[in-house]
């Protein structure tokens, strides 16, 4: 009997406690959401309103002219297209290559396997910034400055992606692969027709993470892309106040529109993404 009451105490918090806990979570959610809400409402305000008192989260009047200005006076649409193209291509190639490498580590035995895997882990610890100067000089000598090759190719096969793909591909049954071999399938055939379909959810997660990283990347594109029409969204939005003399409202509109697709994809796939990301960390 005593045991039971003890359990009841630890398992279910009292009603007052529960209300308190719920409100703490809600406050956390609100504090996180307010900057986003402010971004959206600011994009529908007139410039004067953002520089006047009292400061409010909701606009006094809703205006669409920031969006008109954004599409009319800046290269926003071009930057958007550039970013979709660059991030898309980098994602497709990068995920494919990472899956290949992951399959090699998960399903084959070969000489120097441990050494190669050590290389993958080593790249995880090397900070990218140390490579900036020589990489830029290389891009210059390759004639890749102001081309998307410079953004797409270096670091395209992410070490973390290889690591994730290896973990997922390990769960593909060996018997399935051996059966296909007996039926005369080539190793590439096995990769495309057995491994890829079985790890499709993981592939999706790795693809989304790669896409988001490329979409948001700033420092490296800033170094290799100098022509305004070649800009990606991050550089375009960061420098919008300069050449166009646009107002902060239009910058907020650009921020909102550039964040929207990422947020939508995330809302649709949040469970898989969080599971994929946290998986490595909880196992150590």
């Amino acid at each position: 009997m005593q045991l039971k009451t003890k359990r009841a105490n630890t398992m279910g918090p009292g009603r007052v406690n529960l209300m308190f806990m719920n409100s703490v979570v809600l406050v956390g959610v609100l504090l996180t959401a307010i900057p986003f809400i402010y971004m959206i409402t600011a994009s529908f305000r007139q410039q004067g309103e953002l520089y006047s008192l009292p400061v409010t989260i909701m606009p006094r009047e809703w205006h669409g002219h920031n969006y008109v200005k954004l599409f009319g006076d800046t290269n926003f649409v071009i930057w958007y297209g550039n970013t979709i193209f660059t991030a898309g291509l980098r994602t497709v190639l990068g995920v494919y290559f990472a899956a290949l490498a992951g399959a090699a580590f998960a399903k084959y035995s070969f000489r120097f396997k441990r050494f190669f895997f050590f290389l993958v882990l080593a790249t995880l610890t090397l900070p990218f910034q140390v490579l900036l100067v020589p990489l830029f000089l290389m891009m210059r000598d390759f004639g890749w400055v102001d081309t998307y090759w410079a953004v797409i190719v270096p670091g395209i096969v992410g070490a973390f992606n290889i690591f994730l793909m290896r973990q997922y591909i390990e769960s593909v049954p060996d018997e399935l692969m051996d059966a296909a071999r007996i039926d005369g399938a080539s190793e590439f055939g096995i990769f495309h027709r057995i491994i890829i379909p079985l790890v499709r959810p993981a592939l999706g997660v790795v693809a989304i993470l790669t896409f988001v990283n490329t979409w948001n990347d700033f420092l490296w594109p800033l170094i290799v892309l100098h022509d305004d029409t070649k800009y990606l969204l991050s550089i375009g939005i960061a420098t919008m106040d300069g050449p166009y003399d646009v107002e902060i409202g239009a910058i907020m509109a650009a921020s909102f529109l550039s964040t929207l697709p990422i947020l939508i994809v995330f809302v649709l796939m949040q469970r898989q993404i969080i599971a994929g990301l946290t998986q490595g960390a909880i196992r150590g």
Partner: protein, 320 residues
Amino acid sequence: MSAHTLTAGDKPQSLSIGDWWSRNQRKVIPYIFLAPFLLTFLIFTVYPAGAAFFLSFQRVRGFIDASEGGGVVLEYKGLDNYERLLTKDKRFRTAIINGAEFAFGTVLIQMPIALGMALLMNAPHIRFKVLARLAFFAPYITSAIVVGWIFTLIFQDRYGLLNAALSTLGLEGVGWLTNKTFVMPALIILGLWTWCGYNSLFFLAGLQNVPDDLKEAARIDGANTIRVFWHITIPFLRPVFVFVVITGLIGSFSLFSQPYLLFDSGSGPGDAGLFPVMYLFFMGFENFRMGYASAIGYLLTVIILLITGLQLFLFRLWRV
């Protein structure tokens, strides 16, 4: 039984390429699978890492046009760059100190908040779980530039949201981005907003990984909630702590985009918003002192590796 022994048995004397391939592809294919990684790794990581090391002992005197073969004109300076950085360069020291302050500030404050939030989200009968998961992840996937612009508005002196909120509480607003003293707190607020929720999701995943029967057994043995938490839950969260601390510290020392935007491509009042990677960028790509910038990169790498090593060592002690 594997495929190639079958074919080998059929035609042992054949020398055609197709046959050799079907016999040996299982041995060769892993190298082909690894080729894209190894090639890009050699060209775009190993080579530049070596080049950066070489450059860090040089002074770049000029650039050779791509039409004449490209490259740079160098002058060997020995350890000059390193000596200057470590003993004379006050701005570098400021950048490192700022990086360290930001790192310890964000990591130390966010850990209890993130863990607390995760415990709440893991408790039975809590509402808004799905909403909270969504909200807490959103800042992390938002571009640093967008975050920077939003907080430019929020941190404004007279018309900023934060100062307005403070004044409704009866507090005096401060110059978050204009007053040297408040630059670091402002950046830490930005950092907490970005990473607290994200890290709480890692703690939550860790908490869900703690086996219930183990906690149950401890309770039956008479352990109270606090003891269960301390002796079972926390040890199970060890890998999450390692992850949160190490990624937090590395991320802090790599900070670039947010301060770069908040301080209008500058370093803030009195260099209060100057960070190591920013300094590397200014030196390498605005002053074109690329040898010096490479030396900054290497010192930064050493610092990051030392921190990571020290952390791993300390956490290993904890396991015992």
